[in-house]
Assembly symmetry: C2
Homo-oligomer: 458 residues x 2
C-alpha cells in the first residue's frame, strides 16, 4: 500500500523533505503538502535584500514554485492552514482559503511550520506599519508600507535580521534608528567586535540607541504606527521593523501534546523524528538543533539547517515507506552565522564569551587584526578575528570575525576546526590556501590561533 506522507509547511525544510522522499521512494509514497501562503521553497533570508532593492522581486527568491513541485508528483496545497493534529488517530484538520475544513490521515507526518518573529506584548504592537520579517508575505506587507513613502524607520532589536533590515531602510532613503537592549549591536559577536559593527552602522547613517528598550507604539486614527516610545525617549517613525529574533511556530505541535524547548522549538532525534511520537518528524525553523560544543538543544533557525534537516527527514520517511533503515542523520550544529552591514562582513561560529561562561567553560581568548590579502597587495583590508579555546584541552570553541570584503567566509575554516574538535595548536599548522591576492602568508584565522597559543602557553 502506498505510504501517505503529509507535510505541514511548504518552505525550505518541508519541500526539501518532500522532494527527497519522492525522489527516494517514488510510487511507494504519496505526498501532500499544506502551505498557508501562495509560495513554496523560497529564501526567507533574501527578504531584506528584496525590501532594500538589491533583489528585484519576491518571485526571484522562490527556488521552486508549487507548480514545479506538483510536476514532480507532490500534491502541494497552497492557502491551506492546518488547524489541528491528532497524533493518535494520525490525522490533520485543514482549513482551505474558502473556509472549508477537511480531514486527512497520514502514515508519516512532517511538521515544518517554521518560525515567527518575536512580538513582545507592548501597547500598540499590533498597529499597522509594524512588521516582523519571516515569510515572503511579510516582505510583501512591508513593501506595501514602503509604498506609502515613509521618511523614518525604527528597527527594534539588532539581531542580524534587524541589521539587514536597517540597511534595507537606509537603501530606501529612510532616516533609520535602531533601538537595542544590548550594550553593542549584533549580539552574535562579543562587545569589542560589536563596537566595530556600531561604527559601520553609524558610517552608513544609522542611529544606534544601545541599552534602550521599546516601551509602546503610538498609532494614528487609522491604526498606523507614528512613534515608538523607548526608555531613551520618543522616536517619530513611519515604519517599524521588529528585529527581536524569532521563535518556533509550534502551537499546533504543543496542542497535540508534543513537548517543546528553547524558544518553542520541537526536540527531535538525529533522524528528525519527534521522540515518543511514532510517525512524526519535524525539521527547519520549528525544531531544536543539538549544539555540538555544549550538547544543548537550541533553536537556531537558519535556511541552511532547514535544508539539511529536510533532506534527513525526507530520507528517513522514504526509508519508512520502503521498509528499510534510514541512514542519513543530522549531526548537529556549531552555531555558524554570517551577515553584513554596508561593506562590513560579520561572522561567528561556536561560542562567544557569554556562551562559554554559561557553559562553564574556562576559555582563553585572543583578538587579532590581520589583513584579508598579503599586506602589500592592492585591496588588502583589515580583518579582526577573535578566537576562544577551552583551557582544559586547548580546543577551539568559538571564533568571531569582523572585516571588509574577503573576511566573513574565513569563518568556515573555524567552523571546520570546531566540527572536528581541533586544538588551536593543530589549527595553526594546517595547510590553508596562500597566495598574495587571497591571504597573508599566515591565514588570519591561524594568526588568531597563534595568539591564543601564546595566551595558553606553548
Amino acid at each position: 500500500m502506498t505510504h501517505r506522507l503529509l507535510v505541514i509547511g511548504g518552505d525550505a525544510a518541508g519541500m526539501s523533505a518532500a522532494a527527497t522522499a519522492k525522489r527516494r521512494a517514488g510510487d511507494a509514497i504519496a505526498i501532500t503538502v499544506f502551505e498557508r501562503s501562495a509560495w513554496t521553497s523560497y529564501s526567507a533570508c533574501g527578504i531584506p535584500y528584496w525590501v532594500g532593492g538589491a533583489v528585484a522581486s519576491g518571485g526571484a527568491l522562490v527556488a521552486r514554485t508549487p507548480e514545479e513541485h506538483r510536476r514532480r508528483g507532490i500534491d502541494v496545497r497552497t492557502g491551506s492552514t492546518v488547524i489541528a493534529l491528532d497524533p493518535v488517530r494520525r490525522s490533520l484538520e485543514v482549513r482551505d482559503e474558502d473556509g472549508t475544513i477537511s480531514s486527512h490521515d497520514y502514515d508519516s507526518l512532517l511538521i515544518a511550520t517554521g518560525a515567527e518573529p518575536v512580538r513582545p506584548d507592548l501597547p500598540g504592537i499590533m498597529g499597522r506599519g509594524i512588521h516582523g520579517i519571516q515569510t515572503l508575505d511579510d516582505g510583501a506587507e512591508i513593501l506595501k508600507t514602503m509604498a506609502r513613502a515613509p521618511r523614518r524607520a525604527v528597527v527594534v532589536g539588532s539581531g542580524y535580521i534587524g541589521l539587514e533590515m536597517a540597511e534595507a531602510c537606509v537603501q530606501r532613503g529612510l532616516d533609520t534608528t535602531v533601538v537595542d537592549r544590548g550594550e553593542t549591536p549584533l549580539q552574535m559577536v562579543d562587545a569589542e567586535l560589536g563596537e566595530q559593527v556600531r561604527t559601520a552602522m553609524s558610517g552608513m547613517g544609522i542611529t544606534v540607541l544601545s541599552n534602550t528598550e521599546a516601551l509602546s507604539f503610538e498609532l494614528d486614527e487609522d491604526g498606523w504606527a507614528t512613534a515608538v516610545h523607548t526608555t531613551a525617549g520618543r522616536l517619530d517613525t513611519d515604519v517599524v521593523v521588529l528585529g527581536l529574533g524569532v521563535s518556533a511556530r509550534s502551537k499546533l505541535a504543543v496542542a497535540a501534546g508534543i513537548p517543546v524547548g528553547h524558544r518553542g522549538g520541537i526536540r527531535v532525534d538525529e533522524h528528525q523524528q519527534v521522540a515518543g511520537f511514532d510517525g512524526i518528524w519535524a525539521a527547519g525553523d520549528c525544531v531544536l538543533s543539538r549544539d555540538r560544543i555544549t550538547g544543548e538543544h537550541l533553536h537556531i533557525p537558519l535556511g541552511t539547517h532547514a535544508n539539511k534537516q529536510g533532506l534527513v527527514a525526507g530520507t528517513a520517511i522514504a526509508a519508512r515507506a520502503m521498509g528499510i533503515e534510514p541512514t542519513l542523520t543530522f549531526p548537529g550544529v556549531v552555531r555558524t552565522a554570517v551577515t553584513k552591514i554596508c561593506d562590513v562582513e560579520i561572522a561567528r561560529t561556536g561560542l562567544g564569551e557569554r556562551e562559554a561562561k554559561a557553559a562553564s567553560i574556562d576559555a582563553a581568548s585572543a583578538t587579532v587584526v590581520a589583513t584579508t590579502k598579503a599586506g602589500y597587495f592592492p585591496g588588502a583590508e583589515p580583518i579582526t578575528v577573535k578566537m576562544l579555546a577551552d583551557r582544559s584541552n586547548r580546543r577551539v570553541i568559538g571564533v568571531q570575525i569582523v572585516g571588509k570584503a574577503g573576511s566573513a567566509l574565513r569563518i568556515d575554516t573555524a567552523a571546520m576546526a570546531l566540527w572536528s574538535g581541533l586544538t588551536v595548536d593543530e589549527l595553526a599548522m594546517i595547510d590553508l590556501a596562500y597566495a598574495p591576492p587571497f591571504s597573508p602568508v599566515w591565514d588570519p584565522v591561524q594568526v588568531a590561533a597563534r595568539a591564543v597559543i601564546k595566551e595558553l602557553g606553548y
Copy 2:
C-alpha cells in the same frame, strides 16, 4: 655556554626560524644568518605582482629588513654565500661579497637555501632576457629586461608562476604566448578545469600552445633571446619567462652527504631535523614535506609551509639551546594551492585524478557548477567544484575549484575536511556560513560532496 646557530638563507624559513629561536632562547643562543642577496624575509610569491605593476616596488615585498632583524639580536650577513658545509667538524665555509673566505663553527645549523627555477639544458637557455622567477633579484633582473621596452613575451610552462607571470606580461602590454607541454594549462587542476583556465587566459589575450615543448632559444649577437623554437614552430620574442617549476637548492647539502629526494628536496623529521645529521635542521623550499593523504615526502615549495617550518625548526633549535624537549611539530601538508588569472580564481587541495591513480586509490569523483552567492543575489558568479573521494572509505581526498570572485578561498573548507579525514557524508552536513550575499543555501563544496555521495551510492 652560548649555543651557536648558523642559518643558511635569510628568506621566509630561515628568518622565521632565526626570529623564533631568538625569541624563545634569548641570550642562550647566538644566531648568524648568511644570505647571498641583499634582502631578507621577503614574499617571493609577490614577485609576479611587482613585475605586473600591482605592487609598486620590490621593497614592498620585504616583511623585515636585515637591519630590523639585527635590531632583534640576529647577526644577518647579506652578500654572503655559503660554499661548503662540514657536518663532522660542524662548520661552514662562507664567501663574502669581496671574495674573502671565512670559516664558522656551529652547534646547530639550519639549511634554508630555498629553491631555484628549473632550467632545462636547451641550446641558448643561458641567454639574456630568459628569466626564472624565484628571488627578489630575479624580479629586479626581469624588470631590467622590461625596461628595454619588449613587445613580445614567451612563457615556457604553465605552472602557477608561469600563469601569474603571463598575466604580468599582459599587464605590461606585451603580446604573450604560453608554451606548455600539457594538454591543458595549470596542471595543478585536472583537464576539465584546466580548460576553464585556458578560456580565461584566451580572454585576456594570452595565446596558449598546449602539447608543445620548447626546443631551443635564438640569441642575438649581444646574447639576448630573440626567439624560442618549439615543437609547434618558431616564436619571436623579446623576453622569456621560465615557468617550469622549481627544484630544491640543495647542492651544498648533497655535497655534505645529506640525502635528498623528490626534486632535490631534503628529507626532515617532524621537528625539521635532518635524519642522521645531529644538529642540522632544514626548512622551507629546500625540504620535502609529508603529504598527509598518501604519506609521500614531496617537494612542495610554498611560502606558507616555509613560515610554518621555520617556526617549527626555530622552536626545536631553541629547545636544543635550552636543553629542553621540543614540542611543536610540522604535521605535513594536504597540497593546498591557490592562484588567479585575470578574474578567474583557481584552487586545489589534496589529490587530482593523476595523483589518485598514482597512489592506487580507487576514487569516485563529481564536478558541479554552483554559484558563489545565492543565485538571485547581485554579483553571484558561477563556481565549478570537482571533488574526489576514496571509494574504500568515502573520505574526501581532493578538491579543485575554478570560478570568479569569491570562489578560491572555499578550498580551505575542503583542506580542513582532508586534514581531519572527513567523509563526503560528514562534509555534506557541516554547519558552514550561509547568508545570501556569501553563499547559496548549500555551500558549493557541499553541493560537490552531495554529487560524490550520489556517485558512491547513499
